[in-house]
Amino acid sequence: MSSRSYGLQEPPSLGVKGKKRYAMVIDLRRCNGCGACMMACKVEFDLPLGVWRIWLKEENRGEFPNVRKVVVPALCNHCDYPICVRNCPTEATYKHADGFVLQRFNRCIGCRACMMACPYNARHLLPGERTDPQKPWGVADKCSFCVHRVSRGLAPACVASCTARAMIFGDLNDPESEVSLLLKKENVSVLRPDMGTAPQVYYIGLDEGGVSDPVSCDKDRSVALKDDYHAFKKNHHGLQFGDILEGEKDTSPLGFTRQVVGHLKDFTVDIFEKLGIIGRH
């Protein structure tokens, strides 16, 4: 079988003696959507407003009285064949021998090629303004499977905080580990298997969900979600491509021109900020 490992990637360590191969199993039958994983992660890494290393995709399905809520925690899938690693021009992101896909902030230039490459939308750019200026900014960030905790024998923050014990983390090379047993016992699936990335976050009960169906998610955005998003955007620069556009006003030639001009204006201001000629905000 041909290998899909190009560039700075360790070959997959499944079954290799003496090596770890960390993976996560998320049991959606147990997940109650409390959001403790999100909160724990935000606190662990002091993540700024608007970016997440792990987040919940929540969806209401059905018609009254047959309504139910579906929740899928989403995070970096620590793929065995990560496209982000393949496409990073500065080797800032790499595949660790133990299965982690990690980010070296000191090498990252913030070109966002990895974000373009990621099929899971799991990467984000840390904004220029941080509460603690010593923290990384202007670089791509992602879930690290809490490598700093795992290397000390602790579970990742999201796993440790999961109130329903829906997230299970462990070594797939250990046949007695809980993740290995679950993968043998349960019917698991992964997000976007068509991308050929061999994700290492496995879901139980994903086929019963519906949130994983990307297109239908986009077609039926709720009003509340749009409002939340626009409220968030008020704290940030201008309108960008990819923003949720509503109605004829924004998709008309005039509306589109307004967006283009606005975006270029923000970019020009950004140049002066980066040169230190004007202060940030």
């Binding site: 496209i83 080797e91 297109v215 039926d220 923003d243």
Partner: protein, 302 residues
């Protein structure tokens, strides 16, 4: 069944309008340079009078590019990390690593070629011109490849990306060159003015590229219509949210109207070609906007 998304994350606006402008500029630069090389490299003598001007124009266009790219980085001061000579590491599997090498070396090649034309050194101009033409095509080919090598971005992940970029570059480059040549005429002496037949000749070249571009776009649309659900979703985006840059600006203003102008008798007159040139140059910018923007928008759905 009714569905309502309650929450999701939005990590999607990665590459924006500065990158679209960069694609447009580097494409126009490549197009101008190919025209410049027709006279000195490929021996078509009637294009020789505009070679020097076209080559310098493509250098100017390309000099704006680093400003856009460097200041679009999250960490602009670390742009040096892209150069293996400085850092000692080079990630060969990344398209941007190759792109950096091309974008950095292409202006040097053009400078040498321009200098040799200036000195009327026919022999070396031909050799260095050929090298620079390969650099020009590669530089623009790589921009298409950079977008195409992202399998999750359905509008971009097509083997036709590089070709679409190259053909678009060729026609927008000629278009912009025609316009700037006309503007130049207002500032130069009577004997230095461009021969109107030259502009008409460039218009004929543009027509060939235009037909090829329309064929590629048609193929791409068919592909999307018979594609997966995600590809069909891209088609929906093209006809709804992004209809201004793609349907109106690119296909309408950039392809359909110039085609009508160029195949009509008006297309054999200078004014007709100039109108078509302007429309194509603006229309191809719409293609670049759509190309970058749709991929950002379609990624929000994951």
């Amino acid at each position: 069944m009714e569905r309502e998304i309650v929450s999701n994350a939005f990590h999607h606006a990665n590459w924006g309008i500065p990158i679209a402008v960069y694609f447009w500029l580097v494409g126009s630069s490549a197009g101008s340079f190919v025209i410049s090389s027709l006279g000195w490299v490929f021996g078509i003598k009637k294009f020789k009078p505009i070679s020097f001007f076209a080559s310098n124009l493509s250098i100017v266009q390309l000099l704006i590019v680093p400003v856009l790219l460097v200041f679009d980085l999250g960490q602009s001061t670390r742009a040096t990390h892209l150069f293996p000579v400085i850092t000692g590491f080079w990630h060969a599997s990344a398209p941007l690593a190759w792109g950096t090498a091309l974008v950095a070396s292409y202006p040097v090649g053009m400078f040498i070629y321009s200098y040799l034309i200036y000195k009327h050194n026919e022999y070396w101009a031909k050799i260095f011109g050929l090298i620079a033409v390969i650099q020009a095509c590669s530089t623009h080919w790589y921009t298409g490849i950079t977008m195409a090598l992202n399998p999750s971005r359905h509008p971009n992940h097509t083997a036709m990306a590089a070709l679409l970029f190259l053909i678009g570059a060729f026609i927008s480059g000629i278009g912009l060159l025609n316009i700037i040549l006309k503007i130049r005429d207002y500032f130069v002496k009577e004997e230095d003015k461009v021969d109107p037949t030259m502009i008409v000749g460039l218009g004929r070249l543009m027509l060939v590229g235009l037909c090829l571009d329309i064929f590629l776009v048609f193929s791409e649309f068919i592909h999307m219509t018979y594609g997966t659900e995600e590809e069909f979703h891209v088609l929906e985006l093209v006809t709804t949210v992004f209809r201004s840059p793609v349907m109106y600006l690119y296909i309408g203003c950039g392809l359909a109207i110039p085609l009508v102008i160029l195949v009509s008798p008006y297309g054999k007159k200078t004014n007709g070609v100039l109108w078509a040139s302007g429309l194509i140059a603006v229309g191809i910018f719409g293609m670049r906007l759509g190309w970058v923007g749709i991929s950002q928008y379609s990624q929000t759905i994951f």
